[in-house]
Point group: C2
Chain length 110, copies 2
DNA sequence: TTCTATTATCGTAATATTGCAATGTAACAA
DNA sequence: TTGTTACATTGCAATATTACGATAATAGAA
Protein backbone atom coordinates (compact mmCIF):
# COMPACT_ATOMS: atom_id res chain seq x y z
CA UNK A 1 0.00 0.00 0.00
CA UNK A 2 2.93 2.33 0.48
CA UNK A 3 1.15 3.69 3.52
CA UNK A 4 2.66 3.04 6.93
CA UNK A 5 0.14 2.05 9.59
CA UNK A 6 1.28 4.67 12.05
CA UNK A 7 -1.81 4.29 14.21
CA UNK A 8 -0.72 0.94 15.59
CA UNK A 9 2.59 2.29 16.88
CA UNK A 10 3.49 4.46 19.84
CA UNK A 11 4.13 8.17 19.54
CA UNK A 12 7.75 7.49 20.37
CA UNK A 13 8.11 4.94 17.60
CA UNK A 14 6.50 7.30 15.13
CA UNK A 15 8.72 10.16 16.25
CA UNK A 16 11.87 8.08 15.86
CA UNK A 17 10.87 6.95 12.40
CA UNK A 18 9.93 10.49 11.36
CA UNK A 19 13.34 11.84 12.31
CA UNK A 20 15.06 8.86 10.75
CA UNK A 21 13.17 9.48 7.55
CA UNK A 22 14.64 12.97 7.43
CA UNK A 23 18.10 11.42 7.43
CA UNK A 24 17.22 8.63 5.05
CA UNK A 25 18.32 10.49 1.96
CA UNK A 26 21.97 11.37 1.37
CA UNK A 27 21.05 14.81 0.02
CA UNK A 28 19.41 15.75 3.31
CA UNK A 29 22.37 14.38 5.22
CA UNK A 30 24.66 16.49 3.04
CA UNK A 31 22.51 19.58 3.54
CA UNK A 32 22.57 19.21 7.31
CA UNK A 33 26.31 18.57 7.37
CA UNK A 34 26.90 21.63 5.25
CA UNK A 35 24.67 23.81 7.40
CA UNK A 36 26.66 22.67 10.39
CA UNK A 37 30.06 23.10 8.82
CA UNK A 38 29.43 26.63 7.60
CA UNK A 39 27.83 27.66 10.83
CA UNK A 40 27.15 31.03 9.38
CA UNK A 41 23.96 30.37 7.48
CA UNK A 42 24.08 29.15 3.96
CA UNK A 43 21.52 30.04 1.40
CA UNK A 44 21.17 28.73 -2.11
CA UNK A 45 24.79 27.75 -2.63
CA UNK A 46 23.60 24.40 -1.34
CA UNK A 47 22.55 23.90 -4.94
CA UNK A 48 26.15 24.39 -6.05
CA UNK A 49 27.61 22.42 -3.18
CA UNK A 50 25.36 19.42 -3.77
CA UNK A 51 24.86 18.33 -7.35
CA UNK A 52 21.08 18.47 -7.52
CA UNK A 53 18.73 20.84 -9.27
CA UNK A 54 17.37 23.84 -7.42
CA UNK A 55 13.79 22.58 -7.11
CA UNK A 56 15.08 19.32 -5.68
CA UNK A 57 17.15 21.05 -3.01
CA UNK A 58 14.25 23.33 -2.25
CA UNK A 59 12.04 20.31 -1.71
CA UNK A 60 14.52 18.65 0.65
CA UNK A 61 14.87 21.90 2.58
CA UNK A 62 11.11 22.07 2.93
CA UNK A 63 10.97 18.62 4.51
CA UNK A 64 13.72 19.45 6.98
CA UNK A 65 12.01 22.71 7.81
CA UNK A 66 8.65 21.05 8.39
CA UNK A 67 10.30 18.69 10.87
CA UNK A 68 11.76 21.71 12.62
CA UNK A 69 15.38 20.63 12.21
CA UNK A 70 16.26 23.73 10.20
CA UNK A 71 14.86 27.21 9.88
CA UNK A 72 15.06 29.78 7.15
CA UNK A 73 14.75 33.53 7.11
CA UNK A 74 14.37 35.66 4.05
CA UNK A 75 17.25 38.04 3.45
CA UNK A 76 16.56 40.21 0.51
CA UNK A 77 16.25 38.04 -2.53
CA UNK A 78 17.81 34.98 -0.92
CA UNK A 79 16.91 32.77 2.03
CA UNK A 80 19.21 32.00 4.92
CA UNK A 81 18.93 28.50 6.29
CA UNK A 82 20.46 27.11 9.42
CA UNK A 83 20.11 24.37 11.99
CA UNK A 84 17.47 24.89 14.65
CA UNK A 85 19.75 24.04 17.53
CA UNK A 86 17.00 23.63 20.09
CA UNK A 87 14.98 21.19 18.01
CA UNK A 88 18.12 19.38 16.93
CA UNK A 89 18.91 18.79 20.59
CA UNK A 90 15.52 17.32 21.40
CA UNK A 91 15.72 15.15 18.29
CA UNK A 92 19.09 13.93 19.54
CA UNK A 93 17.61 13.00 22.90
CA UNK A 94 14.97 10.86 21.25
CA UNK A 95 17.37 9.20 18.84
CA UNK A 96 20.01 8.58 21.49
CA UNK A 97 17.54 6.83 23.74
CA UNK A 98 16.73 4.53 20.86
CA UNK A 99 20.28 3.94 19.68
CA UNK A 100 21.67 3.46 23.17
CA UNK A 101 19.49 0.55 24.13
CA UNK A 102 21.81 -2.09 25.44
CA UNK A 103 21.38 -5.78 25.73
CA UNK A 104 21.69 -7.20 29.18
CA UNK A 105 24.27 -9.71 28.07
CA UNK A 106 26.84 -8.06 25.90
CA UNK A 107 26.67 -10.63 23.18
CA UNK A 108 24.32 -11.73 20.49
CA UNK A 109 22.29 -14.73 21.53
CA UNK A 110 22.05 -16.55 18.23
CA UNK B 1 12.44 9.37 -10.48
CA UNK B 2 12.19 7.95 -7.01
CA UNK B 3 15.84 7.05 -7.36
CA UNK B 4 18.39 8.68 -5.08
CA UNK B 5 21.55 9.84 -6.81
CA UNK B 6 23.86 8.07 -4.39
CA UNK B 7 26.87 8.43 -6.68
CA UNK B 8 27.21 12.12 -6.01
CA UNK B 9 27.47 11.66 -2.26
CA UNK B 10 30.23 10.42 -0.01
CA UNK B 11 30.32 6.89 1.36
CA UNK B 12 29.71 8.31 4.80
CA UNK B 13 26.63 10.20 3.68
CA UNK B 14 25.29 7.10 1.97
CA UNK B 15 26.00 4.97 5.04
CA UNK B 16 24.19 7.39 7.32
CA UNK B 17 21.17 7.52 5.06
CA UNK B 18 21.12 3.73 4.68
CA UNK B 19 21.02 3.21 8.44
CA UNK B 20 18.48 5.98 8.86
CA UNK B 21 16.30 4.36 6.23
CA UNK B 22 16.24 1.21 8.37
CA UNK B 23 14.77 3.26 11.20
CA UNK B 24 12.44 5.25 9.01
CA UNK B 25 9.50 2.92 9.48
CA UNK B 26 7.82 2.52 12.88
CA UNK B 27 7.46 -1.23 12.39
CA UNK B 28 11.21 -1.64 12.12
CA UNK B 29 11.71 0.59 15.13
CA UNK B 30 9.25 -1.56 17.05
CA UNK B 31 10.96 -4.77 15.93
CA UNK B 32 14.35 -3.53 17.08
CA UNK B 33 12.99 -2.30 20.40
CA UNK B 34 11.34 -5.64 20.98
CA UNK B 35 14.46 -7.59 20.09
CA UNK B 36 16.33 -5.49 22.58
CA UNK B 37 13.75 -5.73 25.34
CA UNK B 38 13.43 -9.49 25.19
CA UNK B 39 17.13 -10.00 24.97
CA UNK B 40 16.61 -13.71 24.70
CA UNK B 41 15.92 -14.05 21.01
CA UNK B 42 12.45 -13.64 19.71
CA UNK B 43 11.13 -15.53 16.77
CA UNK B 44 7.82 -15.08 15.03
CA UNK B 45 5.89 -13.70 17.97
CA UNK B 46 6.89 -10.36 16.52
CA UNK B 47 3.88 -10.90 14.33
CA UNK B 48 1.68 -11.06 17.43
CA UNK B 49 3.47 -8.27 19.20
CA UNK B 50 3.22 -5.88 16.27
CA UNK B 51 -0.09 -5.75 14.44
CA UNK B 52 1.09 -6.51 10.93
CA UNK B 53 0.71 -9.60 8.76
CA UNK B 54 3.40 -12.24 8.78
CA UNK B 55 4.73 -11.53 5.28
CA UNK B 56 5.03 -7.86 6.16
CA UNK B 57 7.05 -8.56 9.30
CA UNK B 58 9.17 -11.03 7.37
CA UNK B 59 9.95 -8.35 4.82
CA UNK B 60 10.97 -5.81 7.46
CA UNK B 61 13.15 -8.43 9.14
CA UNK B 62 14.83 -9.11 5.81
CA UNK B 63 15.76 -5.45 5.38
CA UNK B 64 17.20 -5.25 8.87
CA UNK B 65 19.13 -8.45 8.30
CA UNK B 66 20.56 -7.26 5.00
CA UNK B 67 21.88 -4.17 6.76
CA UNK B 68 23.48 -6.43 9.34
CA UNK B 69 21.65 -4.92 12.30
CA UNK B 70 20.00 -8.21 13.20
CA UNK B 71 20.76 -11.83 12.60
CA UNK B 72 18.60 -14.92 12.52
CA UNK B 73 19.32 -18.55 13.06
CA UNK B 74 17.00 -21.40 12.22
CA UNK B 75 15.86 -23.38 15.22
CA UNK B 76 13.79 -26.28 14.12
CA UNK B 77 10.75 -24.90 12.44
CA UNK B 78 11.14 -21.38 13.75
CA UNK B 79 13.76 -18.68 13.31
CA UNK B 80 15.48 -16.90 16.15
CA UNK B 81 16.24 -13.26 15.53
CA UNK B 82 18.36 -10.96 17.60
CA UNK B 83 20.39 -7.80 17.44
CA UNK B 84 23.86 -8.10 15.96
CA UNK B 85 25.57 -6.27 18.77
CA UNK B 86 28.82 -5.72 16.95
CA UNK B 87 27.23 -4.19 13.89
CA UNK B 88 24.82 -2.18 16.01
CA UNK B 89 27.81 -0.65 17.75
CA UNK B 90 29.52 0.39 14.53
CA UNK B 91 26.24 1.79 13.26
CA UNK B 92 26.00 3.80 16.48
CA UNK B 93 29.46 5.23 15.95
CA UNK B 94 28.52 6.46 12.51
CA UNK B 95 25.18 7.89 13.58
CA UNK B 96 26.61 9.53 16.69
CA UNK B 97 29.26 11.32 14.71
CA UNK B 98 26.52 12.74 12.53
CA UNK B 99 24.08 13.60 15.30
CA UNK B 100 26.73 15.08 17.57
CA UNK B 101 27.92 17.75 15.19
CA UNK B 102 27.86 20.93 17.12
CA UNK B 103 27.67 24.48 15.98
CA UNK B 104 30.53 26.70 17.03
CA UNK B 105 28.18 29.26 18.49
CA UNK B 106 25.54 27.55 20.53
CA UNK B 107 22.70 29.40 18.92
CA UNK B 108 20.89 29.48 15.63
CA UNK B 109 22.07 32.26 13.41
CA UNK B 110 18.82 33.22 11.72
C1' DT C 1 8.79 50.28 -14.58
C1' DT C 2 11.59 46.71 -16.41
C1' DC C 3 15.18 43.44 -15.71
C1' DT C 4 17.56 40.11 -12.98
C1' DA C 5 18.53 36.98 -9.27
C1' DT C 6 16.83 33.84 -5.94
C1' DT C 7 13.75 30.73 -4.18
C1' DA C 8 9.19 28.34 -4.10
C1' DT C 9 5.61 25.72 -6.26
C1' DC C 10 3.33 22.88 -9.80
C1' DG C 11 3.08 19.10 -12.69
C1' DT C 12 4.75 14.91 -14.07
C1' DA C 13 7.68 10.78 -14.95
C1' DA C 14 10.30 7.15 -12.91
C1' DT C 15 11.08 4.43 -9.17
C1' DA C 16 10.59 2.82 -4.24
C1' DT C 17 7.95 1.40 -0.29
C1' DT C 18 4.31 -0.77 2.24
C1' DG C 19 1.07 -4.31 2.97
C1' DC C 20 -1.05 -8.59 2.29
C1' DA C 21 -3.18 -12.89 0.01
C1' DA C 22 -1.53 -16.80 -1.99
C1' DT C 23 1.84 -19.97 -2.25
C1' DG C 24 6.34 -22.22 -1.51
C1' DT C 25 9.66 -24.49 1.68
C1' DA C 26 11.73 -26.82 5.41
C1' DA C 27 11.55 -29.15 9.83
C1' DC C 28 9.25 -31.81 12.91
C1' DA C 29 5.22 -34.91 14.58
C1' DA C 30 2.18 -38.64 14.06
C1' DT D 1 3.94 -40.68 4.33
C1' DT D 2 0.90 -37.19 5.69
C1' DG D 3 -0.06 -33.46 8.35
C1' DT D 4 1.24 -29.29 10.76
C1' DT D 5 3.82 -25.33 12.08
C1' DA D 6 6.75 -21.45 11.16
C1' DC D 7 8.77 -18.59 7.83
C1' DA D 8 10.06 -17.02 3.30
C1' DT D 9 8.82 -15.59 -1.41
C1' DT D 10 6.01 -14.05 -5.10
C1' DG D 11 2.85 -11.06 -7.15
C1' DC D 12 0.24 -7.24 -7.04
C1' DA D 13 -2.32 -2.92 -5.62
C1' DA D 14 -1.99 1.45 -3.33
C1' DT D 15 0.75 5.03 -2.03
C1' DA D 16 5.19 7.61 -1.30
C1' DT D 17 9.54 9.47 -2.81
C1' DT D 18 12.81 11.54 -5.85
C1' DA D 19 14.05 14.49 -9.47
C1' DC D 20 13.52 18.15 -12.56
C1' DG D 21 11.49 21.35 -16.27
C1' DA D 22 8.45 25.01 -16.39
C1' DT D 23 6.65 28.59 -14.14
C1' DA D 24 5.31 31.59 -10.35
C1' DA D 25 6.60 34.99 -6.70
C1' DT D 26 9.39 38.32 -4.50
C1' DA D 27 13.07 41.60 -3.73
C1' DG D 28 16.40 44.46 -5.30
C1' DA D 29 19.01 46.85 -9.39
C1' DA D 30 18.94 49.67 -13.34
Amino acid sequence: MGLAKTEIFTDEQNAISAFAKAFSHPARVAILQHLYKTNTCVCGDLVNEIGLAQPTISQHLKELKQLGLIQGTVEGTSVCYCINVENWQSMKNIMFQFLNQDVVENSSCC
